[in-house]
């Protein structure tokens, strides 16, 4: 199968993730959508790597995984902390500073 198809899939996953970030209201789900976007990037990297026949893209994918893991550490800590003080993980409730 042509690797270009994987690029279409990556774009589709990325778009689903971006739409999810904008639409969903639970901060955990929003965060999962961001992770989906990062994984779509990974798929694109690997597909391009196969197309070009060099390994740069696969190396990038490894780094992206590490970054995604680090983001989970920081992100979940922030979300859980906020949940414990408010008993809500909805992004709409985080509106103390709205003008």
């Amino acid at each position: 199968m042509s690797p270009v198809n994987y690029l279409y899939l990556a774009s589709l996953l990325f778009t689903i993730g971006a739409a999810g970030v904008l639409i969903r209201r639970n901060s955990i789900v929003v965060f999962m959508c961001v992770e989906l976007m990062l994984n779509a990037c990974n798929l694109a990297f690997v597909a391009f790597s196969r197309m070009h026949g060099n390994l740069d893209g696969q190396i990038m994918a490894f780094f992206t995984m590490v970054v995604a893991a680090a983001e989970v550490v920081v992100g979940l800590a922030i979300i859980v902390m906020l949940f414990r003080s408010r008993h809500s993980a909805s992004v709409d409730d985080a509106s103390l500073m709205k003008l």
């Binding site: 990325f14 976007m37 983001e71 992100g75 003080s85 103390l96």
Partner: protein, 550 residues
């Protein structure tokens, strides 16, 4: 796609002759500014683990200051030995550029971080809790606000001394960011400085719900924007078959002599270049806080602990503009007829929205946030000039702006009432009658933001607008001057509020800071005045530094 079916030599090796693997050659001396800071951050984490609580604060402050000073000295040493000019080179297997703009911005970031550490370490503003002196950070970040765990932590005299190593990690990322010479390093540096900032935002001692909310917003939007940046990186890699800046620039300009013939068949798709370039620029514009990616700025600036806000406002902007300059001037100059019209629009909208919305603000920190949006617009006007004077004027503006910002936020930490910092503008009424010195210092910073002559703001604005006009962007300069006039209105309004109004009886008090914050504010004033009165030396310095290595 005929080559897909072939067995590729990159992920299969022939059985008879294994190729020798060459060890990478790393220029440790040229990477010293970054390595010192990362090393000190790791040592700082170790100190947290092994030192008794009582000793941590002093050890961390000393370690952080010494490391940042050493890093700055390393930058100066590299610049003095000619790495900023004739010996500019690409180090670390093509990952980092050691050249004029990189060293200038790294020096600026190191200085900004030193001044920030002084405000981070301030322990005299908040009243002592149970006999223990406390700083602006939560007793225990993980404890629920108002809960039993928090009360116990306060009673035991805990302080979050982890902020110092976290700050160092952020600084390390920021030092790499403007020097990144491939897209992978760019993305990693972005995350290395963003993740610590998200944590720092959540650690305020007072008004912890606001602080946590700011951290959540900053984190979700920051992660969202870095995902866009990463997808842009993927598309640019798909376009050029490489992620190094020089390699992509060669493919963009059509200079294909050094391109691997194996890649030549699959690269050069202009749709990938345009979309990828746009997404990467978008990720960077989010970090500099340009409209329409500025929505996080006011909330995060307001909710974060004020020393963190000052650090973030100054250092993030320096690092992100450095990366944006390098991307536009090294990677995508061949594409400038495509990105200039878009950036024109961004510049105009950023300047106008920042200035106009700031007029309606009633909170000092939000006001400074929108003013930083407007200033991002002014700096962008210099960025899109695509002339050598564009680079040097942006470098100078960043130096000038970052110290004004640090000083202004340091003053904000001083004006307090029973609930902590009194940031509502109504509380600042008549401050000049009650504490003339603090109000006068704040007025100096506001005048510098407004760009009044004899302050650094004027010299910086003059330089970027001159560069923009020379680059053929006369319209931008006209809009920029109009936006400056609008911005001057609300800066002057705050000054009038402070000096020409009677103070209210229940007004806030001005805390007497220790030598730390006093030094930070004094440095801010001195830099603001010196860069305003005698900018020539620093303009020359920025001019000499204004050449990228490729």
């Amino acid at each position: 796609m005929s080559h897909v079916a072939t067995v590729h030599s990159l992920w299969t090796i022939s059985a008879d002759a294994p190729a020798a693997i060459l060890a990478p050659d790393i220029e440790y001396m040229q990477l010293l500014p970054v390595l010192i800071v990362i090393g000190a951050a790791v040592v700082g984490i170790m100190l947290e683990a092994f030192l008794p609580r009582r000793a941590r604060y002093y050890a961390q402050v000393m370690l952080t200051l010494v490391a940042l000073a050493a890093s700055f000295a390393a930058v100066v040493g590299l610049a003095a030995s000619g790495h900023a000019t004739e010996k500019a080179q690409i180090a670390g297997m093509g990952a980092l550029a050691v050249d004029g703009p990189a060293l200038f911005l790294q020096g600026t970031i190191a200085l900004v971080a030193i001044v920030s550490v002084l405000t981070f370490a301030e322990r005299r503003l908040d009243p002592a809790a149970h006999g223990n002196r406390v700083d602006s950070f939560a007793a225990q970040g993980a404890a629920t606000p108002g809960g039993v765990a928090e009360q116990q932590a306060v009673k035991a005299g805990f302080t979050t001394t982890e902020v110092f190593p976290i700050l160092l990690f952020a600084v390390a990322g920021m030092l790499v960011f403007p020097a990144a010479n491939d897209l992978l390093t760019l993305f990693i540096a972005l995350e290395v400085f963003s993740l610590p900032l998200y944590v720092l935002c959540a650690l305020a001692r007072r008004q912890r719900l606001l602080s946590q909310e700011a951290a959540l917003k900053y984190f979700l939007l920051g992660a969202f924007s870095s995902a866009f940046l990463l997808f842009g990186v993927a598309l640019l890699y798909g376009y050029a078959g490489t992620v190094t800046y020089g390699g992509i620039a060669e493919v963009v300009s059509g200079d294909l002599q050094r391109v691997d013939p194996a890649v030549a068949a699959t690269m050069g798709n202009d749709a990938l270049l345009l979309i990828g370039g746009a997404l990467v620029i978008m990720g960077l514009l989010f970090k500099v806080g340009a409209v329409p990616f500025h929505m996080w700025t006011p909330d995060v600036y307001q909710g974060a602990p004020t020393p963190v806000t000052g650090f973030m406002a100054a250092a993030t902007k320096v690092a992100a503009f450095g990366a944006l300059l390098r991307l536009l001037y090294v990677v995508l100059p061949g594409l400038r007829w495509d990105w200039r019209p878009v950036m024109w629009g961004v510049v105009i909208v950023t300047m106008l929205v920042g200035a106009i919305v700031a007029v309606t603000q009633t909170d000092v920190k939000r006001l400074l946030a929108y003013s930083s949006v407007a200033h991002a617009g002014f700096i962008l006007a210099g960025v899109i000039a695509t002339t050598p004077s564009g680079i040097s004027s942006v470098l100078f503006y960043l130096l000038a702006y970052s110290f004004v910002t640090l000083g202004a936020f340091a003053v904000v930490t001083l004006v307090r009432d029973a609930g902590g910092e009194a940031t509502h503008l109504s509380k600042w009424v008549g401050l000049g009658r009650r504490s003339p010195l603090v109000a006068a210092v704040f007025a100096v910073f506001l005048l510098a933001f407004a760009g009044i002559p004899l302050t650094s703001g004027f010299a910086g604005k003059f330089a970027v607008f001159k560069a923009a006009a020379e680059g053929g962007a006369g319209t931008l300069v006209v809009v920029g001057v109009a936006a400056s006039a609008i911005a001057a209105f609300f800066y002057i309004r705050v000054i009038v509020l402070m000096f020409w109004n009677e103070p209210k009886p229940e007004g806030p008090t001005v805390a007497v800071p220790s030598a730390l914050t006093s030094t930070a504010i004094a440095i801010g004033v001195v830099v603001t005045v010196v860069l305003g009165v005698a900018p020539q030396y620093f303009l020359d310095l920025a001019g000499q530094a204004g050449v990228f290595v490729r």
